[in-house]
């Protein structure tokens, strides 16, 4: 009797387990745990050390030893010279280490601010950012060198002269387009054309420009005349030097005391 009861209970458990397994369409995934000993099993990797894998979402927080501490000591950021030696795959790995570090620091600072406590060593964020920026610069360098070899042009988009909607010239950064820009119907902006309705504004703009140029010339002549009156022995070089200083002052808009 007891045996039967036992068997029945076992079958019930099995059925329930099966029913549950049918309900779940995808197999339940576990947080990824690195098998540290798989590397140690092979003889050549005996001296290989693996740091302990942290739990996943807890990577957004600092390690438990640093909670509530006033001073956290850290090293210096990565320099350009150090990063230049590294391979592309190494840089790719380093970038994601830095990214996680920055995320962690930002979350911790947010939490400290919420609780009105001073965040210890906030310059850590700047350090991480500096090393990230250096890394980005290195990648840019490599990209640029590659494109110079392949095409003879740098990666950065070139600046081209274009006219804005009032017919004024300006330097424009080129952008990618699926179709050439002239073929798009109904879009006549930013093309090198001057329409007749722009003439009035063009005239006024030209007048403004000529006036300012005339004023500058008059100011220069006045300066030369006055310096000649005050210092009759001054050479032309001295006057030129003075003119440069005067024009710089005019641009700055204040006088030295």
């Amino acid at each position: 009797m007891a045996l039967q009861m036992f068997r029945r209970s076992v079958s019930v458990i099995r059925h329930s387990v099966r029913a549950l397994s049918r309900l779940t369409i995808t197999p339940p995934t576990q947080p990824v745990a690195l098998d540290k000993f798989s590397l140690l099993k092979c003889g050549s990797c005996r001296n290989f050390h693996v740091s302990v894998k942290r739990p996943d979402l807890m990577e957004f927080f600092d390690s438990k030893d640093n909670w509530g501490e006033e001073n956290i000591k850290t090293g210096r950021p990565w320099k350009m010279e150090e990063l230049r030696i590294k391979s592309n795959s190494d840089l790719h790995k380093l970038w994601y280490v830095l990214l996680k570090e920055r995320n962690m620091l930002l979350t911790m600072r947010h939490e400290y601010r919420q609780e009105c406590i001073l965040f210890p060593n906030p310059e850590r964020i700047d350090k991480v950012e500096e090393s990230m920026e250096n890394l980005m610069n290195i990648i840019k360098e490599r990209d640029n060198a590659h494109s110079l070899l392949e095409t003879g042009k740098s990666v950065e988009r070139e600046k081209v002269e274009a006219l804005d909607s009032f017919g004024r010239p300006y330097m424009k950064r080129q952008t990618e387009h699926a179709l050439p820009q002239r073929n798009i119907a109904g879009k006549r902006m930013f093309l090198l054309t001057r329409d007749p309705w722009m003439r009035k504004s063009q005239r006024l703009l030209r007048e403004k420009y000529l006036k300012t140029r005339h004023r500058e010339r008059k100011r220069e002549l006045r300066y030369i005349r006055r310096t000649r009156e005050r210092f009759p022995d001054a050479t032309e070089e001295d006057i030129e030097h003075g003119l440069e200083r005067e024009s710089a002052r005019q641009k700055q808009g204040f006088y030295d005391v």
Partner: protein, 168 residues
């Protein structure tokens, strides 16, 4: 001489992320090698979230799919569902007894992502400052004592305002 103007360096995480390159049919898929997005894990103040819900403050250019891929590929966390909303900027400047001077200020706008975790991934928000919140430093105690004494002085001499306490 006037002081030289120093250019303000925008931190990397506040900068806009560049556009994806143009995609045309037949070309290989565009892939992001150096992801510049950031995420902050934040605590929901209104109520305690269940075990499988996490809230993030994310880069404003991030989409729902971006958030999902970010967590799955960089942090190895399974994600069931993501919902985002934009929290508008607001200021706390009420003049009342409830709001202290220190609490007044501006709270910046942000994009918040509410994530439901999948699989066996769970997160309980850790207690980062266990006893530090209740404990006080001697400097804080001294300032508090001074404030108390001032209040007591005022209470003592409330009948004769404008006369200093040394006047008897």
């Amino acid at each position: 001489m006037a002081a030289r103007r120093v250019t303000y360096r925008l931190p990397l995480w506040k900068r806009a992320v560049p556009r994806y390159p143009l995609y045309l049919e037949g070309r290989p898929q565009n892939r992001v090698l150096l992801c510049q997005f950031w995420m902050k894990l934040i605590k929901d103040k209104t109520f305690e979230l269940p075990n499988d819900r996490v809230h993030f403050e994310v880069h404003p250019q991030m989409s729902i799919l971006d958030v999902k891929q970010y967590l799955e590929k960089i942090y190895n966390v399974d994600v069931l569902k993501v919902r985002t909303y934009r929290r508008t900027e607001y200021t706390i400047n009420k003049d009342s007894f409830d709001v202290k001077e220190t609490d007044k200020g501006k709270i910046p706008a942000a994009k918040v992502a509410c994530v439901q975790l999948g699989g066996a991934h769970r997160l309980t928000f850790p207690n980062l400052f266990g006893e530090k919140l209740l404990s006080t430093t001697p400097e804080e105690d001294a300032t508090k004592l001074e404030e108390l004494q001032e209040k007591l002085n005022v209470a003592k001499n409330w009948e004769r305002p404008g006369i200093p306490p040394w006047f008897s």
